[in-house]
Subunit: 349 residues, 2 copies
């Protein structure tokens, strides 16, 4: 059977579709705009696993009451250079965006600012929020924990979330900040779900089976196994750090404790560079660092040395220009979802 | 030839010896006390590579003018919840201790505080400073960069320092905080120096040769090779983060740029837990997290799951009680050093 080749989809089309879907399950338009923009921004950055393919599960969250679509984040308390937010179990992105904006405002006043969020749902790609801080001339940190899926180094029980961690710094080019954004697990659980759906093999080093033995057999993960932390005991320690800076500090709990409520508790810290030194000199150094690393010799087997954040900046340029090459499976799922909700999806061919 | 077995040395003996040696090269007694205490604390924590074995190189730093032994750190500027310190190229430990104390005071007032230090020498084991923050009911972060020794992921040129990173949180037991403290390189350069001196083999994954190929041959490192970051591209990104949060923010520079001055520029951030939630609930959760992980099942090939900071706490208990089992080579070097400086070392048999 011949399949008609699919063409890339422009971001604005996905944005409109995302808003319609989210509004159809009770999300106010302004919040739907924020959530959809966050998902589409992940697609634009090349991270389709955090993009619009999440919409079917998001709709399910709204239907089951896991997410309260009309809930709005609010400030719970303020003290000095810190603020605590309550996400009220609404969509995570508006809460995370408010956290980033609040951290920027606190840092502008105090030099550094920290914002902790509890009762928060999935906030999307962490890089989005620290990149926003670079546009304000700041360095940012973002940490977020989640339900247990990762075994400690040397262990076999699921005790830690995949616990992503992000940092960013501005360079002279606003389109090309330095951005670190990774799960502290060896692989994101979403990638295993993709492998499960497609029957792909998985690389060594990513999971352990129920006995804590390294495994490359995906069924082992679902039969009582666990993800491994990246980088051995060091990545494990970073994951523990995220459980406390993001999970415990928010007033919630590390996710292996019985009182954990399933929230993606989050911490954001913004640091105003100009408080420490003139920003112009900093971004000039960042640009020269970028160029120095870029011009350095690659190791055997590599074509070039890549900077943290470079692949995302490149994907964004390409996809803003040429559209987002959405996989056929995602298109089908979104078409079906839209049809269920009585929405028009002519653009999704 | 029979060798007389050496007995462990009590910490106070090493402390006195360290102070004498440091004073003999022009260090004022109060600063000598701080530097010696930091080195001995590293020995007590089981990290002999950061302990009194450093004294011969420290004396060399003083003799060559790399360190100005009588220099005292000072506050350069303050703004809101941030402070910048000038280490004046004196010993790093007094500057780092002042940074930690200042960060604690800032966090007590503002909820979070950040202190950046430039013109700073070797600050010792980073864990020391974040552990001090836990005793004030705070979580701490410490980052420090140094001269280029590490290749970027996918590269071969030395462009990054070994760039250590530390975090700690208090538990209900003040003797047993959670402590992360690691180099972002796959191995610390000091451990390669030990391997070079003893002719030990090195594990795979630690270095690349001058062509950027993975190597287990130590001479390759000294013939134009480089250390590798831990954990692939993730550890590399963390190392870049340290170059900017510790190096560039201080007003100095990432260490691969021509203006880098050889300083161990440092950033410390303290976060006052009680500003966010009652401390008692936090430390109770930390204690239960500790117990939960400790009681979890080890993976095949492991006897038990170890918590970040647990080995250090255990070494400290044992060595405070039974003394520090200093290697014969370190004893010999310290005896020779003391003799050169005309000091008494009867205790170092």
């Amino acid at each position: 059977m011949m399949r008609e080749p699919t063409s890339p989809i422009v971001a604005t089309t996905l944005q409109r579709l995302g808003e319609s879907i989210l509004e159809a399950v009770g999300t106010p338009p302004d919040l739907a705009r924020i959530v959809a923009a966050s998902l589409v921004a992940a697609n634009l950055a090349g991270h389709d696993s955090h993009g619009v393919m999440r919409l079917p599960s998001y709709v399910e969250f709204a239907r089951t009451g896991h997410v309260v679509p009309a809930a709005r984040p609010s400030v719970e308390s303020r003290h000095g250079a810190t603020t605590m937010l309550d996400g009220h179990r609404g969509w995570g992105q508006p809460a995370a965006r408010l956290a980033a904006e609040t951290a920027i405002a606190l840092a502008a006043e105090h030099g550094i600012g920290a914002v902790s969020v509890h009762r928060c749902n999935h906030i999307g790609r962490l890089g989005e929020y620290v990149e926003a801080m670079t546009r304000a001339g700041m360095m940012g940190l973002a940490l977020c924990h989640g339900g247990p899926a990762v075994a400690p180094y040397g262990g076999r029980d699921r005790l830690l979330g995949t616990n992503p961690f992000a940092w960013a710094a501005p360079t002279a080019d606003p389109q090309r900040p330095l951005v670190l954004d990774f799960a502290t697990s060896a692989v994101a659980e979403g990638k295993l779900q993709v492998a499960r759906a497609t029957g792909q093999a998985i690389e060594p080093g990513l999971i352990v089976d129920a006995q804590g033995r390294p495994s490359t057999s995906l069924p082992d993960f679902y039969a009582g196994g666990a993800l491994r932390p990246f980088g051995g005991h060091k990545g494990y320690a970073l994951s523990v750090m995220v459980e406390f800076l993001a999970g415990a500090l928010s007033g919630a709990a590390p996710s292996c404790l019985p009182e954990y409520d399933g929230s993606n508790d989050t911490l954001m810290i913004a640091c105003d560079i100009a408080t420490f030194r003139p920003l112009a000199g900093f971004v000039d150094q960042a640009a020269r660092f970028y160029a120095t690393v870029k011009a350095s010799q690659p190791a055997e087997g590599f074509d070039a040395v890549v900077l943290p954040g470079e692949p995302e900046a490149q994907a964004r340029r390409q996809r803003l220009e040429g559209g987002i090459p959405l996989p056929e499976q995602t298109r089908t799922e979104l078409r079906e979802l839209a049809a269920q909700l009585g929405l028009h999806t002519e653009d999704l061919r």
